[in-house]
């Protein structure tokens, strides 16, 4: 395969570099995945109870949504830096939380509204029937409304996961960006191979995790009409 040469006769991709660095690429990919997806998991753990509270006490929702939106409006880099004093800088161990905590906060701005919308998507006759059959409020939320909200919650998780996978790269600027590290490496050495490889891997990660979430939804909600989400 002959790709157009960059200046100096350097090829756009050196296949042998990839072959020599498979170990490092695998490590970075795994690390990237951890930095991107743990926040989604933590985000769900926070967003589901928060969403339930907002559905139960409606007045809670506007202020909660407001806070989530303000968080989303903050530049990711600024938020990463905010947590450096608490978790430190660098890659691995405790320092990973410098990335994970801000990304968890970002994920909330997508996940909380989706949990609330999902709970509100429960048809009125269904909610009414549940009450009339003798479900208490809490039991109805957990056994009826939350399961029916799952497709909408997963739709939110898909958006949050893809955006999280792309945002991890920003962490490169503070020395912990998963596959994003390869950008810096490539730019500093004027060497295109790592840049292209990391782009391809990040896109692949996004596509695969989206596919996994779609599959998870099929498994969790066999009752959902085919063709709707």
């Amino acid at each position: 395969m002959t790709l157009a040469a960059a200046d100096g006769g350097e090829p756009l991709i050196r296949w042998d570099w990839i072959g020599d660095h498979t170990g490092q690429l695998a490590d970075l990919t795994a690390h990237h995945l951890k930095l991107a997806l743990l926040p989604i998991l933590f985000g769900l753990v926070v967003a589901i109870p928060l969403g339930l509270l907002c559905a139960r006490w409606r007045w809670l929702y506007p202020p909660t949504l407001g806070v989530a939106n303000v968080l989303y409006g903050l530049p990711s880099l600024a938020l990463f830096m905010l947590f450096i004093p608490y978790f430190g800088i660098g890659s691995g161990g405790r320092a990973d939380f410098t990335i994970i905590v801000p990304l968890t906060l970002f994920s909330l701005s997508v996940l909380v509204p989706n949990v609330v919308d999902g709970l509100r998507s429960v048809p009125d006759p269904v909610r009414q029937a549940a009450t009339a059959m003798g479900f208490g409020t809490l039991r109805r939320l957990i056994q009826v409304e939350l399961p029916i909200a799952v497709p909408v919650v997963i739709a939110g998780a898909r958006v949050a996961a893809v955006s999280s996978i792309s945002l991890v790269s920003v962490g490169t600027l503070i020395g912990n960006g998963g596959l994003g590290q390869l950008f810096v490496d490539g730019y500093s050495r004027d060497f295109t191979t790592p840049i292209i490889v990391s782009c391809v891997l990040i896109i692949a990660l996004a596509l695969i995790s989206d596919g996994v979430l779609v599959a998870a939804q099929r498994l969790l909600t066999p009752w959902a009409r085919r063709g709707t989400r």
């Binding site: 009414q128 009826v144 009752w223």
Partner: protein, 265 residues
Amino acid sequence: MIQFDGVTKRYVDGTVAVDDLTLQIPTGQITVLVGPSGCGKTTTLRMINRLIEPTSGTITIDGEDVRAQDPARLRRGIGYVIQHAGLFPHRTIVDNIATVPYLLGWDKKKARTTALELMERVGLDTKMARRYPYQLSGGQQQRVGVARALAADPPVMLMDEPFSAVDPIVRKSLQDEFIRLQSELRKTIAFVTHDIDEAVKLGHTVAVFKVGGVLAQHSTPDELLAAPADDFVREFLGGEKGLKRLRFNRDLDRQDEPGVEAAER
């Protein structure tokens, strides 16, 4: 017997939904509450299982004041069927029917066995047990709704326009089967409809409501058709023309299903 004593429901904006209602719903019979929209029939129904609380007056079931009981527990002992079935989309048909038994803490196997029996009872193929509501037609969903209300064998059933959302042919078959089922089960049933034909066909007695929640007449269908209490009732029955048609249909029904009528009376 369900007894309403001077029950009024007034909303904070001053609207009166039900006005000083005194009404008896006899044990083992179908009492149909009928009237135009805004007449308070659904409000009346929902006060029985405390989905709505009355402003004043008392409602008792077999002498026990409903407001003295825990709402959730009270409701588990009262079957409830609504217009769009309101089935749980995420539960299979068998689990939908077993809802109240699960709430009552029955053993899962017993709950499911009961649910399967009820499927047969309401005319559903038990092969559908593992399907989800979206895979059923409107008429089948409504049957599931009835089976679900019957699952814990409650003595009282509340039905709010249960057959209104299906086409006329399916409605007729649901009504006929409902009459057959009731002749076996003899539940105390309060049945809301806006359809006077349905009221006359199903009710042992019919309570006609006026807008503003006033009870205009409560009598057997035959008395109702023979002697409407006032102009409102006459009008609601469709005037002279409507009365003629209703009386004619009633005679037809008698000839059609002598067995059912005999069993019912």
